[in-house]
Symmetry: C2
Subunit: 475 residues, 2 copies
């Protein structure tokens, strides 16, 4: 329980998140949003704590209606506020806190897997979910003792923004990893970072990466329709969010259990050899792509360094050399020098401008190429684990005959295991097909963007030089 955790650490003061009107005769205390209260007893239980307001009035308030500092610390690991509360939280599950999110699969709902043109595919929704991560705002709690950045996340479905801090994204990541990690590679979030995390440049970069991560999650039919993801994108209010969080953390259909919810509709069971072959094929491909992506990143990094380091310096020196020569020429005292020296100075300045352009260009093109490849590097890094789960299942099926012979499992158990392995293989195929179609889309888009910006860059240089050229007189 976060109240307890922090009471002794920092302060027993808390801020009121929502209005609460005390029911008369219940020993309750009315509180108003934004008010600061002092906690006098956090060991009441049942979701209540005892607090004192600024007027000195004491009474019980709902624990969820207030907040102390547990969530202020962006890098702390202290957020399993429910789990640490022991036997308490259970009581709320039935209280109607979690909204029934329309169209979302609950943990017990089936994940459809169809036979598409390219083989097994996930069931894609008619409408592709997306969201915008924007408007990072600095907030503070505990009277400025703790600061954080809050991002506005607006799903295209509702167009209603919700606010989330990095730690909420991280919470979502952990839930998705736990629940779907065996079947779907869940890419890591952009790195945590302590130093400089309030600097504009960093905030912008993190926002961009969170946007990339969210877009990828939105695009995934299984993830985007999951209850936890829907909660994250469209919780109604703080209470709804807290309820939903607790529910998600109690979800038991996680790990390999997720395969039990996958239904390969109209797909025949695969035999072991086919399963193994598919698995090996994907393994080879993802490893080869991982190498290719890392290679491109290495080269991209070197190119970035050259483009922002020695290359613009050289153009600048060329520019300076022209301008220097121009000023020497000016000192000649010779008549009719001005046309040349003016043109030479202009040419020199042009090269200085080019230096500037060269240095700034990577942010306009190479950056996105690198970001996309970085995303894929992260995504590809998840595949060995996903593939590992499949390999383990295959090994189990291989052992099944012995186990049946030894009387340790029934032939029916063996059939179930084979069926499960087949389902896993189908879902891996569906996942690979999802991966491929996204990859084709992403690389098409990023290459187009990269080349478009490169074209503009070289055209602009040519234009600048054409202008510089025109200043020299033909004799």
């Amino acid at each position: 329980m976060h109240v307890f955790t922090y009471a002794c650490l920092v302060s027993t003061q808390a801020q009121v998140l929502y209005d609460f009107a005390a029911e008369p005769g219940n020993n309750e205390l009315s509180i108003r949003e934004g008010e600061t209260i002092t906690i006098t007893n956090q060991n009441i239980g049942g979701g209540w704590i005892e607090a004192k307001n600024s007027k000195g009035e004491v009474g019980l308030v709902p624990e969820d209606y207030i907040e102390v500092s547990a969530e202020d610390d962006e890098w702390d690991e202290e957020w399993d506020d429910v789990k640490s509360s022991g036997g308490y939280a259970e009581s709320e599950a039935g209280e109607g806190g979690a909204i029934n999110r329309g169209g979302a699969h609950g943990s017990s709902m089936k994940i459809a897997l169809n036979n598409g043109e390219v083989g097994p595919v996930w069931a894609y929704p008619d409408y592709q979910l997306d969201c915008v991560v924007a408007d990072p705002k600095k907030g503070s709690k505990l009277y400025g003792l703790k600061s954080y950045i809050e991002y506005q996340v607006t799903p295209t479905t509702t167009n209603k923004p919700v606010n989330h801090r990095y730690k909420h994204f991280d919470w979502l990541y952990e839930r998705l990893l736990e629940k779907f990690g065996s079947a779907i590679p869940i890419p890591c979030l952009p790195d945590k970072q302590v130093a400089g995390r309030f600097e504009d440049e960093f905030i912008k970069m993190r926002m961009e990466r969170l946007q990339g991560w969210m877009t990828r999650m939105c695009r995934h039919p299984v993830i985007s329709s999951s209850e936890v993801f829907q909660l994250f994108l469209s919780y109604k209010d703080e209470k709804d969010w807290k309820m939903g969080k607790r529910k998600a953390e109690k979800d038991e259909t996680v790990g390999v259990m997720v395969f039990s919810t996958i239904e390969p509709e109209g797909l025949p069971d695969l035999d072991l050899i086919e399963v193994e072959q598919k698995c090996e094929q994907f393994n080879r491909f993802t490893r080869a792509m991982d190498d290719g992506v890392k290679d491109l990143l290495t080269i991209g990094n070197e190119h970035w360094k050259r483009c922002t380091g020695p290359l613009p310096k050289e153009y600048q020196r060329i520019g300076k050399a022209f301008q220097n020569l121009s000023s020497v020429f000016t000192s000649s005292g010779y008549e009719g020098e001005a046309a040349l020296t003016d043109a030479l100075t202009a040419a020199g300045k042009t090269y200085e401008e080019i230096a500037q352009m060269v240095a700034e260009q990577p942010k306009k093109d190479l950056h996105f190429l690198m970001e996309t490849n970085n995303e894929y590097k992260g995504l590809l890094g998840c595949f060995p684990d996903t593939v590992g789960v499949h390999k383990a299942a295959i090994e189990k099926v291989k052992e099944a005959d012995k186990l049946v012979a030894a009387g340790k499992i029934t032939p029916s158990d063996k059939t179930t295991m084979s069926k499960r392995a087949s389902t896993m293989s189908y879902s891996l195929q569906a996942e690979m097909n999802h991966f491929h179609s996204n990859r084709i889309y992403d690389y098409n888009r990023v290459m187009q963007q990269y080349l478009e910006q490169q074209v503009k860059f070289y055209e602009m240089i040519a234009e600048k030089l054409r202008h510089a050229h025109s200043r020299f007189t033909t004799m």
Copy 2:
């Protein structure tokens, strides 16, 4: 005498340069161009040697009509074939060998110096001389024992080509330096080089530099109208060339003597302070320009290295990385991959082409910028000597008063010295004005050329990338 020099060294055989018809009863031997003869006695004197033809016939032939190997050795210093002949050559001066070249100043002719708009200027001819150095041909003498490269030099005046080897250019350079070096900076020829001097690349480069040097000499009104330069450009035949060479080598109006031939028409004598000021001004300017040019050369060299070394390698690696990714994608087995992989391969190849373009571009633009600045570096390197001559003259005039007082020179001598210093200052001014106008022309031209090529380069890259971009499908 070259025949003697080489007779004991290599062979007594010689090749006949021109037809010669023996006069009957004179003990002479008729020879034909291209014929090989054996020298039987080179100590005849009077311009004659005794030789034997292939039929075994023996007789006297004119020394100048044959050639052994003295001129075959491009790097040897063995060419003062006349000077080493002792008292002999004199006899030929009157024999009508040297043609009276129309419009050329003989050594005794006056060099006009006028008052132009920018101050003292050389008298410029109505028609600007120029020449084309082209068509380098490998020749050999002594039955292939000695090889050389001969360039065809065609003056725009006569349009009649003459052939010259590097050593002839060098001979001309020495004559010009000796005769005009005190008044006019004579830039060095392109370097001598032994290793690789028959390689196409080297021959092309040397020819280009000889062309640059000749063009600069042609543009100079004093040099281009000098007898020795006219000889070099338009000698009638081998005999005329040899006669002219001997005459030029005997020219006594060399060194500071050249100032006695300069006539500042309508220009008043300058006083010592003015002379000194002008001298200092030019000294300052040429030194500053020397620094500026060297600076540009240093940067240009670094840029050259980068453009031909690491930069194209990087573009190549980018190109390879794209192509590599494309072939990984092809291995996915996913349907509908071809459009992307084709486009990605094309983009990769485009970057490889760009790598090639980057590596080759310096030859198209930076090269000429470097060559021009190299030429100017050479030219500016001559100025300290030229300025030194003037400073020495100024010092002499400064001492003149003492010398007059000590009775060592007459007041009239002093007046002559002052007059000479004044003439030197005017000619330095004329030379500086010549230098400035050429410099403005040259830098205008080379900057135009450089920028034009740069524009083309960047436009072509943009065009290539635009094409690569168009291959990606918009989704």
